[in-house]
Symmetry: C2
Subunit: 391 residues, 2 copies
């Protein structure tokens, strides 16, 4: 094949077809990303209410905003996989598909009569992405799980929150989202492998495993030293000053972890003497004395407003930020410049506002418009007509 | 090509070569995942101390555990990219590579004389994965950022922690880790595209963008209703009961979001009357009265120990968990059964304990052994000899 530059509108998964049995968040978050990369995603939903996410609020004009935020640019067909008709259409979809994604509990697809082994035999091209709480193997495999369960079981909750304070959940469903992201990588890697071998494979991602994988060194430190990481509130376990600090009127984030940035910070707040202070004159000493360093810095930081300090720190090249709320994020000029907030025209909701894709390909255009989140079974006729044409 | 089942030891990125200029966490976390998928990752480090992560503690026998946790199964060569010799070897590596990954601030590679445009012209096969705080475009593009900065700027911090309490960081570096995961998907997608077009592309991932992408519906809800999400402590914003609850001797996680699970929970604790209670008899009502529901459930839950309740709830099929610390995670039977804790023999550390890959491919074997995290420049002679052989 002779190399050719893709057209500006080309996306890496253009031409890839995904049949999506997944529900609620983790699976749909994965297939949303696949869709943003160019794949055509067909949701296959239960005729009895469809994706459970459709029932999760808040609602506007009767349509779930929770569901809508992760299911735009997808189509929907309702199929009862326990009936012959439903099964037949499902298998015809799989015959034309590159990827099947589901997030049932392990065993459900077997009971429905679609075990991996027979799907693989019948559709050797098919990549099968399965996401579950605990995966296909191990003693807890068949147990139910939700985000909160794996945040608690997998250790992330034990390192989040303030020392001595109540348990604290990561404010977004990191149990679901991390698993959706790992499954995205796994499915695309299996598609790449298929280009070379001609056969698809089954990718088995467990939410619990993903929580362990994002513990960021805590397993390693525990294994080597016996130290059990605990919650540290607003600061980093290994780097200081690196946290949220009180200015006169509110918090600011300062991340000045190395000697160079620490010196700049001390200069910017007129506390040059701290640089050579024997308590703070090396990264490890600053970390060991992080609480003391914070108190010392805050005696100065509290004298001026957060916005004053941010202007000064930005000029000095010190990594810093306000603590933005969602409204501030939604109107942030950098976020806008990166097309990270998209408006999707929706017949029920009017304008649906969603987060864009963070995978930007240099020189490519982002799509000019998007499909609204489908009503249940909205694309039945078009999908069936297409299957008839290609039969 | 006639389809053939890959061998049990085959991995999807076998044969893929990654040249890795990345440092500290976000980039190395991405290339660790690529390595776990089978890619050969060559760290190209500065001769002046190498990857900055090597200087971040804690240390054991002088070797950074922080660095070690994300750099096993990689090789290292030290190259000064400002010298002719260093540049020449770097370009020879790129000529044989499939992927280049870096997480410098935008502009750094241009100043070093390696802008994307000229790399693309010279090495059309190369996929270039760039990860930075704010991306290659937009008003903040050249600003420095670290995990803490994007957790604050991107809104995740504003929804984490307890209402009215101090700002709370997600206890793991989700700003770095989410960006590393998105870059992994982007790089593999670009490799897949390359199979079809013959040319590589540049994937531009910003840590801030990734924080916006994981806000889980908060942008959508704000856009539709003006409601600004705030921190909710230990509970889910949309589902109840779904949080951490007090048993007699400590916390337990319960996730009983739908009518069926709520009824099971009420039965399991002998509070069947709650199912028909008009305050709690539908998901939206339970959510609206989440605090009241918690108090009511806890009057019963406080009468028995967490471990008693967990046994009962597991039997009843109610999603639940203890709040495990890192030691409990490291010895968890499900985590062990999934090969999520690996021991890597390291000449300095003895046994290095690390988290495994959560991308499991059904029917494939996990590698039996792993390379220890390399000392700076450890693989220079082998790499140079290989370049000479293939010249």
């Amino acid at each position: 094949m002779s190399p050719r530059e893709p057209a500006p509108g080309h996306r890496p998964l253009d031409g890839v077809r995904v049949v999506d049995l997944s529900r609620v968040l983790a699976g749909p978050f994965c297939t949303l990303l696949l869709s943003q990369l160019g794949a055509r995603v067909t949701k296959v939903e239960s005729p009895r209410g469809g994706d459970d996410g459709r029932a999760i609020g808040p609602f506007k004009n009767g349509k779930s905003l929770y569901f809508s935020s992760v299911n735009w640019d997808k189509e929907s067909i309702a199929l009862d996989l326990k009936t012959d008709d439903g099964r037949e259409v499902f298998l015809e979809l799989l015959a034309r598909a590159d990827v099947l994604v589901e997030n049932f509990r392990p065993g459900t697809m077997d009971r429905l009569g679609f075990p991996w082994e027979s799907l693989h035999e019948r559709f050797p091209q098919l990549v099968y992405g399965a996401l579950s709480g605990f995966g296909r193997t191990g003693p807890l495999s068949r147990r139910p799980a939700y985000d909160m369960v794996v945040q608690g079981m997998g250790g992330v909750m034990s390192v989040t929150g303030h020392p001595g304070g109540p348990p604290t959940r990561v404010g977004v469903s990191i149990g679901d989202l991390a698993a959706g992201l790992y499954l995205s990588t796994g499915v695309v890697a299996a598609l790449l492998e298929r280009e070379r071998t001609g056969v698809g494979s089954m990718v088995d991602v467990a939410m619990l495993d993903c929580q362990v994988a994002i513990l960021e060194g805590a397993i390693t430190v525990y294994g080597a030293t016996g130290e059990i990481a605990g919650p540290l509130g607003d600061r980093h376990p290994r780097i200081a000053p690196f946290g949220v600090f009180d200015a006169a009127d509110g918090p600011i984030v300062i991340a000045a972890g190395n000697d160079r940035l620490f010196a700049r910070l001390c200069a910017a707040i007129g506390r040059e003497e701290l640089v050579a202070d024997p308590r703070f004159d090396a990264p490890e000493r600053r970390r060991a004395a992080a609480a003391e360093l914070r108190r010392d810095l805050e005696t100065t930081l509290r004298r001026r407003s957060a916005s004053d300090w941010l202007v000064l720190f930005e000029e000095a090249g010190i990594p810093c930020s306000p603590v933005n709320d969602v409204a501030q994020v939604a109107s942030h000029p950098q976020v806008a410049a990166r097309s990270m907030i998209l408006d999707v025209a929706d017949p029920v909701l009017g304008t649906l506002r969603v987060a864009g894709s963070p995978i930007k390909i240099v020189g490519r255009e982002e799509p000019a418009s998007h499909r609204p989140p489908p009503e249940l079974d909205a694309d039945r006729e078009a999908i069936l007509a297409e299957l008839r044409r290609r039969r």
